[in-house]
Every structure is written in C-alpha cells, then in structure tokens.
Symmetry: C2
C-alpha cells in the first residue's frame, strides 16, 4: 500500500505548507461564494414577491384607488433587478454544486472573466435599483414640500410598509452582490499572478 | 562599459519575452489608471459646480420662487459624491505622479487593499448618487400622475437643463470609477497569484 507521503525535505515541507494554506483559503472563498449566492437567490425571490404582490385599495369618498408597484418605475426596476439576480444566482449555485460533485475546479480565464463581468454588472444594477427605490420610498414617506409633491404613505400605510421590507431585503441582496463581485475579482485576477515571471519594478 | 545584455539561452529569451509583455501590460494599466483618475478629477469638479451653482428664480404672479439644488436631497448627494470623488482622484493622481518620478512602484498588499477598498466604495457611491439623481430628474421632468406629483421642469427649464448636463457628466464619472475599481482589483488580487505554489485541483 502506498502511504502517499513523500520524502520530507525542508523545502518540500515548506511547499506543502504553502499549498495547504492556499487550499484552505480557496476553500473558504468557495464556501463564502456558495453561501452568498444562496442568500441572494432566497432574498431576491423574497424581494420580487414582496414588492411585486404589494397592492392596497383605498376608498376616497366613493372613488376606489389602488396602489400597486407598477405605478413607480423604480419599484418595477427593483423587482426586475432582484428577479434577474435570483435567477442568475440559481445558475451559479448549480455550477458550484456541479464543480463540487465533480471534485474539480473548471477554472479557465474566459469563464472567470464571464463570471466576473456578470457579477460586477449585477452588483451595480442591484445597487442602483435599491438606491432609486429608496429614493422613491423617501419621497413617498415624506413628500417634497418645495415641489408640492405630497407624502402618500399616510394614505397607503400597508403598501409602504411592505415596500420598505422589500427595500431592506434588496439592500442585503445588493451588499451580497458587492461582496460576490470582490470574490469573483479575486478568482479572476489571481490568474494574472505577479510571479509568473518576476516583474520587479518598472 | 557594460551593455546590460545577458547570455541569450532559449529559456532566458522566453523569460525576457514574458517579462516584457508583463511590463507592457502593467504600463498600459498604469496609463489607463492615470487617465481615468484625471478624467474623474475634471468631471467631478464640473458636476459639483454645474449642479451646485444651479439656481433659477421664477415670478409667479407677485411671488418669487427660487429653485436650487439643496431642495432635492438626491442632488445634494450627487454634488457631495462627485466632490469627494474629485478630491480623492487628486490625491491618487499625486500618488501616481510621485511613484512615476521615483521610478518605483510602491506596491504593498496593505496599500493595494486600501486603494481597492476606496475605489470600490466610491464606485458604488457615485453610481448610487447618479441613479437617485436621474430618478429625481425623471420625476421632475415627467412628474408622477398617479401620485399627483407634477412635473416642475416646464416651470424651471434652465434649472432642469443644467441638472441634466450635470447628471450626464456624473454618469461618465461613475463609469470611470467602475473601470478604476476593476483596475485596482487587478492590481490587488494579482498579488495573490495562483502560481506561488502550484495549487492544482481541490
């Protein structure tokens, strides 16, 4: 039976030690990636359903008025952005599972570039969506007296609360996407490691 | 006199070639960084001054009404974000100039982490600022009939135009910041190159 243990020269031990810590770090990054992608998947669906199904009917004298998210473009943007983020995360989680089952890391530069680009774009889109939705929410809650824009949340309290919950979840989604874009930047740019040929100063 | 040319074995030539292309890429990245930082510096100042000095007085019957950017929190956010981006870019341009004059690259991991973090945060802040300002601009231009929020740009045309120009410039600033955050991610994560100890599969 082969034990798999090589000859332990000091250099060999150092390389093995370096390899071990590198592997441990890579494993941590992988786990963080999967956890973040699952979080985005779950919360993205939650945001889309919270905001997308949010309606409230109000009777003002005999006129029925209905508030729904489609009346605000920024809320439509929020629902779409989080829906896309959730769908994309599902695909990415499946990719992570496949590579874990196969026990191999299919890490080519083009794939790393593709994942990096998608993560970056989605992080910025999700953040822009949550920023505009929050801006709309603030306007809805407090109005803008200088422009005669009235608050609407004292009329549609339940509607506003549900949108608020959606925005909080969407903020967590955005921050997770931001962290993920750092992870995928790490995965990509370390392929361009400085010590391929020692570069020194320039 | 020493010519500085070593013995040209085939392996030596290959290493020199790899070193040369690496140096060329690093130089291109450096030039792109300086150009982008100068662009952000210039346009950031332009945005802050365009939006920050924008006022319009309108006489409605005998009442004088003045539109200015401080009435909209999102425009204040835009001015502050672009001001900070411009100031930060100035410091970074100086750093680039100093390192170019010294002819050395002072690239430690902590410094790379600091630059990466600041660039990332500023990219997201600038993008969020331009998104909320654009949302306000759309509301100002078209209003929101369902909420009885009226358009104000037919009253304050000149004010709105100047804000619009500011937002276009701010969009360029944001996209430049996004590109820069990719550059600094590249500069940071390649320090964690995969080929320090050959990692293989895990």
């Amino acid at each position: 039976m082969s034990s798999g243990v090589g000859v332990s020269t000091p250099g060999n031990v150092a390389v093995q030690h370096g390899l071990g810590s590198l592997k441990a770090m890579e494993r941590k990054v992988k786990v963080a990636e999967v956890v973040l992608r699952c979080l985005i998947l779950g919360l993205g669906v939650l945001v889309a359903s919270l905001v997308g199904t949010d309606t409230q009917v109000k009777k003002i004298f005999s006129i029925e008025k209905k508030a729904k998210f489609t009346e605000m473009k920024s809320l439509v943007f929020l629902v779409i952005a989080n829906g896309i983020a959730a769908g994309y995360s599902l695909i990415q989680v499946l990719r992570c599972v496949v590579s874990a089952v196969r026990g191999s890391v299919l890490f080519s530069k083009p794939l790393a570039w593709a994942i990096f680009s998608c993560d970056q774009v989605l992080a910025y889109v999700c953040l822009a969506a949550v920023a505009t939705a929050a801006q709309t929410a603030v306007l809805g809650e407090y109005g803008q007296a200088e422009m005669q824009w009235m608050s609407i949340c004292n009329m549609y309290g339940k509607f506003c609360n549900q949108v608020g919950e959606g925005i909080v979840c969407a903020l967590v989604v955005s921050l997770s996407m931001v962290s993920l874009s750092c992870v995928s930047a790490f995965n990509l740019f370390r392929l361009y490691g400085k010590n391929k040929g020692k570069a020194g100063e320039f």
